[in-house]
Every structure is written in C-alpha cells, then in structure tokens.
Amino acid sequence: MIPSIAVVQLNFAAREVAIKLVYYGPALSGKTTNLKSLHELTREGSRGRLMTLETKDDRTLFFDMLPIVFKVESEGSGMSLRVKVFTVPGQVVHASTRRLVLQGADGVAFVADSQVNETQNNADSFLDLRDNLKELGRSIREVPLVIQFNKRDLPGVRSDAEIDDLARRGKEPVYKASAVHGQGVLECFFGLLDRSWRRLEAEHDLCVKLGIAPDDFLAKAAKALGYEGRGRALGEACVKGGRA
C-alpha cells in the first residue's frame, strides 16, 4: 500500500493553499478534453501551462496536469490558491499510475461516458477508483466527489431523463457535459472546487485561519477566474444526488 501523502498543503505564513483535484474515469471518456477546455476557459493570468503526457495516438500515458493559480480576496491580505487538476490514464494497463496520481487528491471528478454501451466501463472504472482509494487508505465516502456524464453531443447516449433518474439513485451531484465543446466543464470544475473547499474548511477551520466564509469561497474563486457573479450558478448547474 502506498502511504497517503499530504492531502492538502497549507502554508499559512505565505497565505497559500494548494488543492489537488483528480479527473478519473474510463479510457477515452474525455478527461484530457475536460482539462483542455478548462485551460481555454480560464483567464490567461491564472492558468499555467497544461502539461499533457500523451502518446502519439492521443491516449494519456501517465497523466495531464493543469495548474490554476489565483488570488482570492479575504479579510486582510488575501490568499493565493493553487489548484492542480490532474487526469489519470484511463486504460486498464496503467493501474499503478492511476493510483500514484490519485494520491493526496482533495476531490475527484468522475468523468463517465454517456454512451449506453459504455455503462459497464463506467462502472468498472468507478470500482477501480474505489479500490484504489481503499488501497491508499481512504474511503470513497470521505472524498469529495462529483460525477460528469460527458459526450452529451454524441448519438447513442442516455437521455437527459435517464441521467436525471440515475442521479436520483446516488449521492453525488451529476453534471452533463460535452467537454469537446466546452459545455458543462466549468460547471463540473466549480462544483468540485466548492465541495473540496467545504471539506477542507471542515477539517482545517480555514474560515478562521484565512478569513473566508465557506459560502463565499466559490464566488470569490469564480471572480478571480473571470466569472464574477456566476460561481454559484455554475457550480449548481447539476442534478443533485437523490440520496445526498
């Protein structure tokens, strides 16, 4: 078992918080596309270079990583938030890499393929996520998680009504996306960021230490990324889990 590393890095002296978000899901479900869209949709000043370690045939060999660094206003001097978004390689053979990348994740977005015939692959990958978290000494119940049904633009996908129905059977918020067109990407990202922040807040009392109320965080982050006044609306553009 790999020892779990620091889940979040907090540097109170420098007023810096680093958050690690991981996009997980079956092969070819569009995790890298999500990151590429996110890269395009965030302000140039806040995003770093998108690091993609992909092979010639467009399959992710190890992972992709997009750093998003921005200042969040707060009482006093403000603070710097470093969000690192990773994708895992979806192909079954890269199991050990998936586990390595998953280490220390503060939140997980599960990118599922909406196509009906991918149902089994989605489920298998989710079980793999659960097993890998367990191997890392963590429970899937305690990791902030959102689900994205991607590829809504393709034929042969589940209908919206079906997805709404599926969402009601689970606990996690479900986002509908077409990452290749940039739809649903920000929504999913903000939703995950909000959930992850709330979890960190609960564990580390960030409100007291950094002067940011949990309900204000998302609005501030959205503003810093160029979406002033839209944070909450974006983050809540999902089907809430029926058993949340």
Binding site: I2, I5, N11, S96, L100, Q103
Partner: protein
C-alpha cells in the same frame, strides 16, 4: 490529515516526505534540477552577443546558474576604487534578491546611473528564478548621477562621464522585448525539462509499484508452493506407510491360502481348491499392486537406493527371458532373445534392471495376441549423451547398451506414447479390465532407467505392435550419478 507537522516555513505536511509528492503533489521544482547549466550558459552568451547586454540567470534561492556579461569600461573604472567596489557589490546582490513585484518585471538602478532589468521566471504558477539583464544605460541618461560622485570621493568624474557616454543607450521598450523573449524561451525550456523530468520519475514510480505488486504475488505463490510441497510429502509418507501396513496381513492371506491349496490342512474338494487358488492368485495380484505403490512412493520420496555393481546386461535379460518363457508359452506367444553378445559392463542395480525388463517383457506378452511374437534384442551403440550439446565430441567416448522389446500386439498411438509413463495411466481404461495391471509399471520403469542415467522411449514396431527402447550408459562412459534415485521433480 493527521500527524501534521509544521515546518519553519509554515508548510504543513506529513512526517515522512514522499518521493512521489514532487511528481503528483505540489512541491516546487528547483531550477537547477530541470535545466542543464552549460546549455543555459550558452543561451545567455548568445543573447549577450546578439544584444550586447549582460545576462545572468539566478535560481529562486539566489544561486547564479548562468552568466554571460563582459565588464563595461565604466564598471572597471569604478571598481578600481574600494568605495566603488563595495557599492557595485551591493548593487549586484540587490539585483539578485530584489522583489520583482506583482508583474514580475522591475528595473533596478545602479549608483553609476546605469540600471538592471529583473524579470521573474515562472513555472507551474510559481517563481522559480530570475533573469537579470544589465547593466545597461537607460535611454535618457546624459550625466553621471550625484550618487556616483558621493560613492567615491576620489573618482575622476570627467573620465567617468566620458566612459558613461560610451555605453550604448537602450530604450525601455526594446529592453522589454528582449526580456520578454528570453523569459518565454527560458520558461519553455523549463516547462519541457520539467515535463520530461516528471515523465521519467513517474515511469520509475510506476515500474516500482508494478514490481512491488509482482513481488507480493510471487511471495504468495511461493508460500502456496511450499504448502503444496509439504502436502505432497505427507501424501507420499502416507502411501508408504499404508502400503507397508497392507502388506503384513496380505502375507498371511497368501501364505495360508497357499498352504490350504497344497492340502496341508486336509484334502479339499475340487471346488474348494479352486476357491482357495483364486484367493491366492488375487492375493498375489494385490501384493504386486501394493509393491508397485511402495516402489513408486519410494521413487517419489527419493528413498529408493540403487545398489550398483558391475553388471552384464545379457545376464539380466537371460534371467528375465527364462522367468517369463512359461507365461509366454501358456499364451502361445513366441518369446525370442537376440543378442550380439558384446561384453559391455554396466554399473547398475541388477535387481532393479531385472524389474524393468520383467515389466516390459511381461507387458509385451500381455498385449500380444495368440500366435504373436515378442523379441528382445541387446546391442552396444555409440552414446548420444544426455542432450545434443557437444555431441560431435562426446558421442565417440560414450558407449551405451540398447535393449529393445518389440511385440506384435495392439500398438500404442504416437500421441499416447509419452503419457504411458505417467503413473496410473492406461491407453484405454477398458484395457485394465481386459489385460489387468495397475498402471504403475511403466512409470516405475522410467524412473529406474533414468536413475541409471538412461532413457526409455517407445517406437512403433512396423507393421504392427510396439517397441520399447531402453538405452543405458556403459560403465566407462558414465558420469557420476547420485547413489539415490532422484525424487520426482515436483512443481
């Protein structure tokens, strides 16, 4: 998030640093780790040559990584005096530590009126170092500033002014473009190197992780194997014990039924006599089975010892023929012994070899129909060695005795020939009922022959029947063999 410790910088992290954190976590990179210094120097020199401005690269902790600057006349002039040297030193150390501000781009003035342009290098949203360009003369500079005269009273201001005038003026916009270009180039190099570094590290971690999993699996397999070996050993012991314990009462059954049959306890009626003889015959059959089992378990456990002595094969075969001739005659099968009568000594356990050939000849007679023929031949051949390696050199010195037992019986299909040597195997399970036998004989034959360093195989005896070919190495060609029959290789 338990066991958090706070480092002097205030960073909280778990006690033990994890090497993977640098790759999949958020640890800052060190510029020194991701760029090649010599090549960085080259880039700075070429920029220096191109624009005539000094270029220095510092890491975020102030270490000088590359330096391409030629000393300006004015600088050399000022540095001749101690006050100038001190002030110059102060300016240079300020340039490598001054905060480049929010924008990451500041101009830092020198007391001579010249200036430095400082540009932050960023990677992954962090400042990892800086470029220091200069010293250069800003476009508007005409006269040496007051600060120069104040720094060193002994300085010849007229000459200083003349020297300052020779330094080419640089417009801030032009310098900005140079700085931006250098920054973009360097950041690209840093990013690419960082990416390569991450890839190689992750590759390493992945392989290590897969290796750990394999190691774990191997460990579990080894444990399972050890357990199975132990079970196998227990089974062999159990068989040996049972076989031995079964023989004791059987000896009494055979002995007493024999005595009854001989009429020692009084005359028997014909019917009683037949019953008793049946008991006796079946007892003998059971004893052979048990003996076979015992031999097999001895062979398996490696406890069968060979008592080797100089042996002539023809003597062994002659004995076997005379033992089995009555059996063959009864079945009306012709049993022939052909020998080249070449004296060739074997170092063998004659009793075990006898067992081998009794088995083979008895089998051959059993599976040959009435009127058929079983031929036993012996001859000396040049050896083949255990494998083909060095055959050209070794075969002349290896001599072997080859014995063939050929019958005109039902034959064995080519695909079955290797299997018949497995314990309890019969080509056709119905043949057990027709011909009797335990299915142990040939597996024992094979092990004994191999224990003598020999081989046994089956050839077809055209047009019909089977030919068993036993090859045994002659004494002079023998290599040192274990005195014990090696146990069956398991696993």
């Amino acid at each position: 998030m338990k066991n958090l410790t706070t480092t002097p910088s205030g960073t909280t992290q778990h006690g033990a640093p994890d090497p993977t954190a640098a790759v999949v976590g958020d640890l800052p990179i060190a510029l020194e780790d991701v760029v090649a210094r010599d090549e960085l120097d080259e880039l700075c020199r070429s920029t220096h040559v191109l624009f005539g401005i000094g270029v220095r690269i510092y890491s975020s902790d102030g270490a000088l990584l590359a330096n391409a600057a030629s000393e300006l006349e004015i600088c050399r002039f000022v540095n001749q005096l101690s006050g100038g040297r001190t002030a110059c030193g102060n300016t240079v150390s300020a340039a490598k530590s001054v905060d480049p501000g929010e924008e990451g781009d500041v101009t830092h003035p020198c007391f001579t009126g010249l200036a430095y342009r400082i540009v932050a290098l960023e990677n992954d949203g962090r400042r990892v170092g800086r470029i220091v360009l200069g010293p250069f003369a800003p476009a508007g500079l005409r006269e040496p500033p007051e600060s120069l005269a104040q720094t060193e009273k002994r300085l010849d201001m007229v000459q200083a002014s003349e020297l300052l005038a020779t330094v080419p003026r640089v417009k801030p916009e032009a310098l900005g473009r140079i700085a931006k270009h250098l920054k973009v180039t360097l950041e690209l190099i840093i990013f690419s190197s960082h990416k390569a570094w991450v890839t190689s590290k992750l590759h390493l971690f992945s392989v290590r992780e897969s290796y750990k999993q394999l190691e774990d699996k191997t460990h579990r397999l080894e444990q399972a194997l050890a357990k199975l070996k132990e079970l196998d050993r227990l089974k062999t012991n159990f068989l040996a014990t049972i076989s031995h314990e079964l023989r004791t009462p059987l000896t009494s059954i055979i002995g007493y039924s024999e005595m009854l049959g001989e009429g020692i306890a009084g005359e028997l009626t014909a019917e009683q006599g037949e019953y008793v003889r049946t008991i006796h015959a079946k007892g003998e059959q059971l004893l052979r089975l048990i003996t076979g089992l015992l031999d097999l378990t001895k062979l398996e456990s490696g406890t069968m010892t060979l008592r080797r002595a100089p042996t002539q094969i023809d003597a062994v075969l002659g004995d076997v023929i005379s033992t089995l001739t009555p059996v063959a005659r009864k079945k009306e099968v012709e049993l022939v012994f052909e020998t080249e009568k070449v004296a060739c000594e074997l170092t063998a356990d004659a009793e075990r070899l006898r067992q081998v050939f009794i088995n083979l000849v008895d089998n051959a007679v059993k599976f040959t129909p009435k009127g058929g023929r079983v031929t036993v031949r012996s001859k000396v051949i040049e050896g083949e060695g255990e494998d083909a390696a060095g055959g050209a050199l070794l075969s002349p010195i290896l001599r072997c005795v080859q014995v063939t037992v050929a019958d005109t019986g039902i034959g064995i299909p080519a695909s079955e020939r290797a299997k018949v040597f497995d314990a309890f195997y019969q080509v056709d399970s119905s043949s057990t009922r027709e011909y009797g036998g335990t299915g142990l004989g040939l597996s024992i034959v094979k092990r004994i022959v191999e224990a003598h360093g020999g081989t046994v195989r089956i050839d077809a005896n055209d047009p019909e029947g089977t030919m068993f070919v036993v090859t045994l190495p002659a004494s002079e060609g023998r290599r040192a063999l274990p005195s014990r029959v090696p146990p069956v290789p398991s696993g």
